[in-house]
């Protein structure tokens, strides 16, 4: 996980625009101030739940003009969010819509110092497989590792269908950043291919929340190379922001391939070096922030060309 903050100003901006951005940035810093966050216990109720997923809901690769039919529809199992006690299934995120609320799983949020309880239940009646949750970036005892190891691991690593487990996690000083979580049970390989993964966004103790927070998960799904389980523009997330907003991108990869995350018309700093493309490998992740100053409709995509042409591309819209 690499954590990097702030963006290089757009090269096409006028002096006036740069001054406006600088003013906004200073105002934001002042507003953020030395916030004092007290540690809390956060609880999440998650299920591994069967669903039917359409990789290409609009039925097309709009750029190349290729049409797709029902062959993009797959039965699978994904992480879903529930009300306490798994009483009611709810959307993974209020901002999601009906075609994009299951892959990735719920974005878990915490702040350094927090204790996190993730109550997990395996609802897999589709494949009748064991599942689990394994979290990167946080501290826990072995009983919350969520990884199957014959003779060593307990029920946390192999939660059978119908069974539950509570993972007890702590966000320590090294936890600030964006991290993956995923199935690490005996069915890990098939489950990850079907979208059983999600992201964990942890803020530093004195770090303000961004105005806009985006999650980008590069992973193969079926025959396609997907972002958040979808392929091709329009199907992949359409991220939105306004000029002046503090925008945070959370990027991770699942699978066995490396990807190169690229956003058009923008740059960010990676340990002081300006970048507009950054590599992310299996289970790696990074995040960065910028103060948005570039209005327009932009591409974001994996720059591995074979991945782009199999669907790993989306659009980012910035308005005034």
């Amino acid at each position: 996980m690499i954590d990097q903050i702030w963006r290089v100003p757009a090269s096409t901006g006028t002096l006036r625009r740069l001054l406006a951005c600088a003013t906004l940035a200073l105002a934001a810093l002042a507003a953020a101030g030395p916030t004092t966050a007290s540690a809390v216990t956060r609880e999440y109720w998650i299920g591994a739940t069967p669903t039917t997923w359409n990789i290409v809901p609009n039925g097309a690769d709009a750029i190349l003009g290729t049409r797709y039919g029902n062959e993009t529809i797959l039965p699978t199992v994904t992480y879903r969010r529930y009300t306490p006690g798994w009483k009611k299934l709810i959307r993974n995120s209020p901002a999601d819509n009906v075609d994009s609320d299951r892959i990735p799983g719920p974005l878990l949020r915490a702040q350094v110092g927090d204790r996190i309880l993730v109550h997990f239940k395996n609802f897999d009646t589709l494949f009748d497989r064991a599942h689990s949750m394994h979290f990167h970036g946080v501290s826990y005892k072995p009983s919350s590792d969520g990884a199957y190891l014959p003779g060593f691991s307990g029920r946390d690593g192999k939660v059978e269908p119908g069974r539950t487990w509570t993972y007890r996690l702590r966000a320590g000083p090294q936890s600030a950043g964006f991290w993956p979580y995923h199935d690490h049970s005996t069915s890990m390989h098939e489950s990850l291919a079907g979208g059983l993964y999600g992201g964990f966004s942890i803020r530093g103790r004195r770090e303000r929340a961004p105005d806009r927070e985006f999650v980008v998960v590069f992973a193969p799904t079926g025959e396609f190379q997907t972002i958040n389980g979808h392929a091709f523009v329009g199907n992949t997330p359409v991220f939105r922001a306004r000029v002046g907003q503090l925008v945070q991108w959370n990027v991770m990869a699942i699978g066995s391939e490396h990807h190169t995350f690229h956003v058009h018309g923008h740059r960010w700093l990676d340990r002081g070096v300006p970048r507009d493309t950054q590599t992310v490998g299996p289970a790696e992740s990074f995040r960065f922030r910028w103060r948005e100053d570039a209005r327009g409709t932009w591409f974001y995509h994996c720059h591995v060309e074979q991945h782009m042409e199999r669907g790993m591309i989306g659009i980012y819209r910035v308005s005034r």
Partner: protein, 292 residues
């Protein structure tokens, strides 16, 4: 039956199977280039596909794509690969029809099966709507001669069409989907296992929209009923490059659904009726303009 014991071979690099197969509950149609073995990938915790169908006389090759050692061991003691190290391969020929299950001796939860047939026949994995075209695909030994497609009737199977296989033995037959039925393919004395095709009745959908005091109401009525079905209300959205669902509703008793929208929009919307999975469209679509 005794399958000819295979030769564990180390072959040139071959493409790994698509992860798509990991999603399919009953994957493994056995499609592979003529003369080449059917490919199965051994992952850390499972084989992919777990079920594969081949013709009698063909081979299956397992590639250990995980970092662990595995074995491919017949449940009936007919073959055993011994240890297959990471990135190594094992192949086995199967001469007689039947179903041959196997497992990994090191990880017994890894299990799979090879279905060996004289003729292979594959039906669509989804249900069809009456009037659609039914495509049955299959493969037989490339020995020449026509393949007869037979349909189950009350008194057994009766021929419905005849197709000529290509030089590699592959064939496809196109028939009108006029009702649910089982089919089989016959090539000389060889007969495939029957496959079942589910054909649903064509449905009509009535859609109306009305303005209420605080909302707009879209009413959808389907006939004949489709229990558990879902209707999707879609707008054409420019940045989605096509029709995009904003609201879903399940049909009450499979007959009707009511969708409430905010007042104001006079956009054109589309209604799509899907199977109970919420995704598979039954091709019944209607457009209407919202009253505002």
């Amino acid at each position: 039956m005794s399958p000819r014991l295979g030769i564990a071979g180390l072959l040139a690099a071959l493409a790994a199977a698509s992860p798509a197969l990991a999603l399919a509950p009953h994957g493994g149609e056995g499609s592979h280039a003529p003369g080449e073995p059917a490919q199965v990938v051994i992952n850390a915790t499972a084989v992919d596909p777990s079920h594969i169908a081949i013709l009698a006389g063909e081979r299956v090759e397992w590639h250990n794509a995980s970092t662990r050692d595995h074995t491919i061991t017949s449940s009936d003691g007919l073959f055993d690969s011994d240890l297959i190290a990471s990135n190594r391969r094992f192949s086995q020929a199967f001469t007689d029809p039947g179903t041959f299950t196997y497992y990994c001796r090191i990880h017994p939860f890894i299990r799979g099966a090879v279905n060996v047939a004289a003729v292979l026949l594959k039906a669509p994995t989804r249900s069809l709507v009456r009037g659609e075209e039914l495509v049955l695909e299959g493969r037989t030994r490339p020995v020449g001669g026509a393949v007869t497609i037979e349909r189950a009737s009350g008194s057994g199977f009766v021929p419905v069409t005849t197709v000529q296989p290509a030089s590699d033995g592959s064939f496809s037959a196109r028939l009108p989907a006029d009702g649910s039925a089982s089919f089989r393919a016959v090539a000389g004395t060889d007969v495939s296992a029957p496959v079942h095709v589910e054909v649903a009745a064509a449905r009509t959908m009535k859609v109306s929209a009305a303005r209420r005091r605080r909302s707009q109401v879209v009413r959808v009525t389907v006939s004949p009923p489709l229990r558990g079905a879902i209707v999707r209300l879609q707008y054409y959205i420019r940045h989605r490059f096509g029709w995009w669902t904003t609201t879903r509703a399940r049909l009450e008793d499979g007959r009707s659904a009511t969708i409430r929208l905010r007042r104001g929009s006079r956009a054109r919307v589309r209604i799509v009726l899907t199977q109970p999975d919420g995704e598979t469209a039954t091709a019944v679509r209607r457009m209407l303009k919202l009253p505002g």
